[in-house]
Structures are given as C-alpha cells and as structure tokens.
Amino acid sequence: MEQLFHGLIIGSVISFIALGYALIYSILKFINFAHGEVMMAGAYFCYGFLSIMGVENFHFAVLFSIIATGILGVFIERVCYKPLRSRGRLTMLLSSLGISIILQAIITLIFTSSALVYTIREKSLHIGEYSLYFSEIIIIVILVISFIIISLSLTRSRLGLAVRAISSNPTRLALLGIPVDQIISIFFFLSSALAAIAGIGLAVENGLIPSMGFQYSIWAFAVVVIAGLGSLRGIIIGGVLFGIVINYAIVYSSSLFANGFAITIMALILLLRPQGLFPQRLREF
C-alpha cells in the first residue's frame, strides 16, 4: 500500500513534467529538452533557499522556488528561444539541448554531484499505519486541481483556439494585436512552475542529485508519447498510472529493467500508434 502511494507521488511528478513538455509543445511545436533540467533547478532552488539562505518555513521556500523557477523558465525563453522562433523549431531544439547541459553543469558546480537532502522538519499526517508528509498531500491536491482546471478549460474553447492559432502562425497574430509573446512567456512560466513543484516533490521523496532531470525526462517523454502530445488530461492520467507501474517495476526488479521496459513500450507506441492512446482531438485542449 505504501508502494502504491509512493508510486502515486512519482506518477504525479512525472505528470507535471510531462504536462510541462506538452504545454510548450502545444504552443510552440517544439520539444523543450531543457525542461527536465529546469525541474532539477527548481528542486535545487528550494535547497538553496532552505540551507544556504536559511529560510525557516519550508512552505515559503517552496513558494519562492516555484516563482524563481518560473522566472528562470521565462528568462531562458526570452534569451534563447524567442530569437530563434523565426528560424525554425530545429534551432530551438538544439538550443534547448545546449541549455540542458549548461544547467546541469552550473548546478553541479554550485552544489557538487553528490546526493543531497532537504533539511526540513515537517508535520506528517497519520492514516492508520501509514504516515504522509504534508507536502506529499499537497502535491496530490495540486494534481487533482490541475486536472479539474484542464477539464474545465474544455468548455473554454477560446483558450484552445488561441493556443492553436499561436502554434500555427504567431507572427500574423502578433500583427493583429494579440500579445503573442506575453502568452508564450506565461506558458513558459506555468510549465517551469509545474516543473519546480515536480522537482521539489521528487526531492522530498528521493533526495536531490543533478542527474535527476534527465532520468525523469525520459519517463516524461514516454508518458507524453503513450498518451499523445495533444491530450493534457490523458497525460495526467497516464503519468500517474505510469508512475505507479514504474515504481513497482523498480522495487520488484531493477531500475535498469524498468527503464528499458518503459522505453520499449514507448518505442512500440511510437511505431504502432504514433499519435498516442488519446490522440489530439481538435476541440480538446
């Protein structure tokens, strides 16, 4: 039972990361490889706030980290992706590769490559014989809230329309007076903030290590592919399920096997049903 819950948390983390990829992809049609490292940066921001800057309250540190990571995401977008938008998605993709290793290098230089843990004293909730950290509960709550918000946005098809419009022809829209750049930046902020939540949650569970970004990126990719890049709700559900399954796989076999298994499934889906299990329908966000 505890494993199930652990898997749920991992799944939520993966969902957030996958959502981040999907959000950016939906609006710019490019895969932001730096996203995993942004997640890692979020986790390390929190560590920095807690240990180095001596923020007492864990929840404030989390809040600051989320905002800081959001700003980081927007900064990266403005400096690196925005100038390349007109030059094709390939160039943005290459830049994101570059940024991913830059972020990894910077974090490793500042925090060394050894594993770290948050020094927090947190209240736990006791349900029967299991105890949950407060932050773990919050993660799940945020997940549920996001799911509800996204489902509700189905009726607000104007948002979906805006996304599709921007993804197809941003320059023309900008000429019409729509603040395309601002909207894109907002998406980056959101996606990075989600990544920060994911990173902090992960760090609470498993600790911090600079390679955490890449490992979970691969899994988030797998979820995105299996669920389909267009369907956000599918990604959330898929992510949670995936997390539970992967968690069992790691616990009862090896993490290598779990990795290989995940990627094989992803490869199979790519070949047999590349649009994913929940292919993007035009009306859905």
């Binding site: 992809y25 160039t91 590769l97 570059g98 290793i101 990894q104 230089l109 990795n259 790519l270 590349p274």
Partner: protein
Amino acid sequence: MEYLASIVANFLIYALIIISLNNFIIGKTSIWSIGHIAFFGIGALTTGIMVHDFLMPGWSAILPGLLISFFLSLFVGLSTLRLSGDYFIILSIGLCEITRAVSHELKGPAGMSGIVRPTLGGMSLDNDWMFILLVILPIFIAVIVLSVRFSRSPLERICSLVRQNENAARFMKINPLYYKVGCLCIGSLIAALTGSIHAFFARSTDPSIITLYQTVLFFSMVLFGGINSLYGSILGSLMLVAVPRILEYFINSPMASSYSYQIIQLMYGFLLIFVVRFMPQGVMGGSKNWFYPQENT
C-alpha cells in the same frame, strides 16, 4: 609516447564519428539522428563481447556490430515513414537510451575491459602507434575518400533535392526513401566500425559516450564546423581533443581539475547556443538552409 598516441587516436576516432554524423547523415538528409552515437556504442559493445566472451577472432568480431547497426539503421530509417520529425527525435533518443541500458545491463556502468587487439597478418598490434598507422589511419583516409566521392557524385545533387522537397524528388523519378535510408545506413555503419576499432584500441568499452551529454558535444561540433563540411568535421574533432588539453594547461589548480568536466560541459553548451543563434552555417560555411523544414508542394 603513449599519451601522444592516445591524443592522435582520439582525434581520428572523434573525426570519424563526426564525419559519419555530419557528412553522411545530417549533411545529406533531413534526418535528425540525435541518437547516432548509439551505433558507435553498439559497434564497440558487440565487438568487445564477441572477442572477450565468445573468443571470436579479432577482425571478424567487427561484423556482428556492423550487422546489428545495419538492420537497426534500416529500422530507424523506415520509421521516418510513420513518424513526424518530433516523434522521430524521441525514438532516436529512446534508442540511444536503450543501448545504454543494454550496455549497463550486460557489462555494468563502467563498461568492459580486457579486449584483446587482433593481429594483422601475424604481426601484433599491441604498439599503439602501429595500431594507429595500420588500422585507424587507413580507415580514416578511406572514409574521407568516401565522403569526397560522395560530394562529387550525382548523389550529392539528389540528396540535396530530397532534403529540400521529397515530393519534388518523386516527380523527378527519384525515390526519397532509398536515399534517406541509404545515407543513414552508411553513416551508422561507419559509426559502428569506429566503435569497434575504438574498443580494440582502448582495449575496453565505456558506455559514458552514449549519453545526451556526448551527443550535445558532437552536435555542437557538427554545427560549429559547418553542416556537410568535411573541413568543418575535422576542425570539430580538433576542438574536442584540443580544448580539454588547453584547459588543463591554463587551469592548473587541482581543485579545478575535478570540475573540468563541468567546465567543458558549460563551454560546449554555450558554444552550441551561440553557434545556432549567430553562426548557423558554422566556421567552414556549411549549408544554412538545412534548418528549414521540408517544403510541402
């Protein structure tokens, strides 16, 4: 002496990897083989296992690696029929990760060692320089000759056509699939061969080359040198070999050297971003049009 030999060998091996990527795949097709380095790993691992565990005679141990790479690249090339660019990239990366996972599974995170070099006509190749002169250098020259022949043949024109507009190629009685997959196969085979040769030279394998980090390094060199430029590829290899040595020379403190890996990472990350933004045609003036998506008539 050994140190210099390893530098020269690394230069040649890196050059072979970059050429196989730049001058046969990236520069000739619109295929984004981000997982390309996997073929190097496959060549190395297969050869190592064949020689070490199955006691296969040295030179023939290269063949299984080539065979696997051939069929895998065939598979990857054909998958472009079904997968759009972004999904293909994910597949390519996935393949790279699978290769790394297999390597870890079979031989552990540090790879294998104790690979015996084959003999050449009874003559031992244990001397590093002999190996370089009789094995690595000839292969290097052969690949360069192949690349030059390519750019002077009708193939170059046809590949440019296919790269820009596949439908237009079809109207000209050219089958784009044949050329795309063919180029991919050749590039992958060269990478696999290079992997096998490296396994012999280093007498070991090291899966740490099959990571995204190394991929970024190689891609940044491809772009920096210039897409489809042979001189550019060689320049890129020179950079990869020279930069860490220069860094070592200037930053002498022992503490810094433990961070040299990260510093190099930082440098190449910035280099990639810089080149993509400000110098997409690279130092040696490769093709600029390569970044634009396929035209659709």
